[in-house]
Symmetry: C2
């Protein structure tokens, strides 16, 4: 198959390969890698998925990681990461990365923050020092961190909140979205890998034809980053109000972003409300752009949301639960610390092909957890991440199959 020149994304490209109902199976090309969607993005808060080395993440098939701007801004600091070539260079991760804007993290600080039109003043959870994030400074930080996909700075509305509060918060997020986009457009050339790659390849590139550059792309499986920039996603807010969500979606789309996220969910509302808001909001997002649902959920939920048309999701649940010995399996969630596993020689999940389930028994995993061994957290995290990735792969597969089954069966289907 010939590689088309269009596969050199300036920032990202998104192609939908198949649909089944509202679910979409697609491919997201970023300056660093291809991402098959729907995709689950493991959370690497501080430039590390806690306890798991990058080669294991690669082996698990992780295609895109999430980093937290707020945390990385505090430690090690944006300038350090920028000098190391951005997060990709700093953490030695050649595949795709997305950073959040810091908005949700700052929202989580509660008493430690103060919101104004200009931005948010907050105190570090580490040492109480005072800091300020504005749409502009959040963009500056995310450009310095150099993820492939970055997020507009938003206010995550608290729950519950009355309609006027939700509206004014949504309006603030919209004004911040415009400011985020403006700053990004003016500064996107400052991304650290854009520069460094450009300088690294410029002498050779100058002598190259488009054909040879295309060959490089094909051979390396990577896109040509020398001319690439990051992609900026907008975030839809609007609380639990379908009408405000609709307005937020339409006005965010009007500003224009490379992709659209649904923020402000999983903040304490019932899961049924989450589902309703996701469903109603998705209806107002352009079908040709990636849909990113932020911060959800259980394996069942991410499968459901993917079938509803969400393309990207992240959640701390698999990694955080793993560190507490809560493991997701094809037979349900189990707490590995339970005494009933003490002499259980079987694999954690007989239906799982991950390196943990292939090698270790429940008895061993139970012992590691009970004895507070470091390896418990490492192995539990590997399994849970693997389980989430497998869940998304299964949904993707069913969407691809579902579409084909529909196509194949159509001619012979009896007309009713």
């Amino acid at each position: 198959m010939a590689v088309q020149l269009e596969s050199f994304p300036v920032s990202i490209q998104f192609q939908i390969e198949a649909t089944s109902g509202l679910g979409r199976a697609g491919r997201l090309l970023t300056p660093h890698s291809e991402v098959e969607t729907p995709v689950f993005m493991p959370v690497g808060t501080l430039g590390s998925v806690k306890g798991v080395s990058q080669d294991v993440l690669e082996e698990l098939g992780v295609q895109i990681l999430l980093g937290n701007t707020y945390h990385l801004y505090l430690r090690p600091g944006v300038e350090t990461v920028r000098r190391m070539g951005g997060l990709h260079g700093f953490m030695s991760w050649e595949r795709s990365i997305l950073t959040d804007s810091g908005g949700f993290q700052v929202f989580s600080l509660n008493d430690l923050r103060k919101v104004s039109e200009e931005g948010v003043t907050f105190r570090s959870h580490l040492d109480g020092s005072s800091h300020f994030f504005s749409p502009e400074s959040a963009m500056e930080a995310q450009i310095g961190l150099g993820a492939d996909i970055i997020m507009a700075f938003d206010e995550c509305t608290e729950f519950p909140a009355d309609r006027e509060r939700v509206r004014s918060s949504m309006e603030l997020t919209l004004r911040w979205a415009e400011r985020s986009k403006k700053y990004f457009e003016e500064h996107k050339g400052e991304v650290p890998w854009g520069r460094s790659r450009l300088s690294a390849v410029s002498s050779q590139e100058n002598a190259k034809s488009l054909d040879s550059a295309r060959d490089d792309n094909q051979a390396g499986g990577r896109t040509n980053a020398s001319a690439a920039t990051q992609a900026l996603f907008g975030i839809v807010q609007g609380g639990m109000d379908r009408e405000l969500r609709r307005e937020s979606a339409l006005r965010t789309v009007e500003i224009g972003f490379a992709g659209y996220a649904i923020g402000g969910l999983s903040v304490g509302e019932p899961r049924e409300v989450t589902r309703e808001i996701v469903e109603s909001t998705l209806a107002h997002l352009p079908t040709d752009k990636p849909h990113y649902l932020m911060g959800v959920g259980t394996p069942d939920e991410i499968a459901l949301y993917a079938q509803m048309g969400v393309d990207m999701m992240d959640c701390v649940l698999p990694t955080r639960a793993a560190r507490h010995g809560l493991l997701f399996t094809s037979e349900g969630k189990i707490s590995i610390k339970q005494a009933r596993f003490a002499q259980d020689g079987g694999p954690l999940d007989p239906g799982c092909g991950c390196r943990v389930c292939q090698r270790y028994s429940r008895a061993y995993l139970r012992h590691l957890y009970a004895a507070n061994e470091l390896l418990a957290q490492v192995l539990n995290t590997i399994h849970n991440v693997s389980f989430y990735l497998d869940t998304m792969r299964a949904v993707r597969h069913s969407i691809l199959l579902g579409d084909r089954a529909h196509f194949l069966s159509e001619p012979s289907r009896p007309k009713s």
Copy 2:
């Protein structure tokens, strides 16, 4: 090269391939794997080298691990490990394992122990519960844990101690050595993998000729464990008194063990004293048996002891130091938390080929440590273990080369 039938060890076999000065390069065949000596054995206290999964240990070239009987006896308990096929099955480690006798661990409990002729009463460091180890129960525990090499139960003499105290302690260890050997000889057939392997292969084995069994051995790189048992090592004590060490060595050898350990060192004495006692004790050990120096030391020290004729060593230093951010490199020991590494894009050790040095920068490792990320402990441990293994490999290589160089140069050497 034809594999000789002698390479099926009933317990272990030890062959010296080359010597250089007092240093020896050898091969230790255990029922589970071949071990090239001199060898460093990483400490896997509770059935895990803290933070490092078994596949990484394999990749690093770890050939033999050490487990701590005291800790495994408390958690998960010997019976649990035994039912899982011993430590090999329990932790999914197919290569060799050595367990200590629990003597040194109990010695470390200080106020929580009471020694009598019969054994040691001690309180668990976990819950204060009372337990009793005798030579017989320590053997029973180690047979249940099923390591390839197990240690006689000894009393580790405190430092400093007067001569009479050292002598009486040494005499107690000698009496316990005899009891350990007696119990072991009577019960060695109860090793869990001996039984389970025997039953698993018995039907096929019955129909097999010795030739085909030999082929199996060659193909799998493993020894025939169906008829194998563990090997019991004796421990030389005698404090810092060369004369008592000599007596302890001779009388321990008289009892007769498959290998001999030097215990009771690294208990607070000056390093020069350690070296002197090691040197003088080694002179009284049989050259055709493995020499195991327990619980030492720095990379320089383990290299020195190997050159003095020690074949096996273990130490918590590389793993424990790693968790405190202290890393051994070809340029000396460094504390990765230092601010000078914050923007150091170079590898931890330019001379190291481990997966950590090949992939991550000092800046990243410094950040992980400073941010208290789990991955810091994982990666630091991988590097330090790798560095220790490389140190032993270099000594082994120099012994092999030294011997050959000596042999090659001999004919042309001018006679003086």
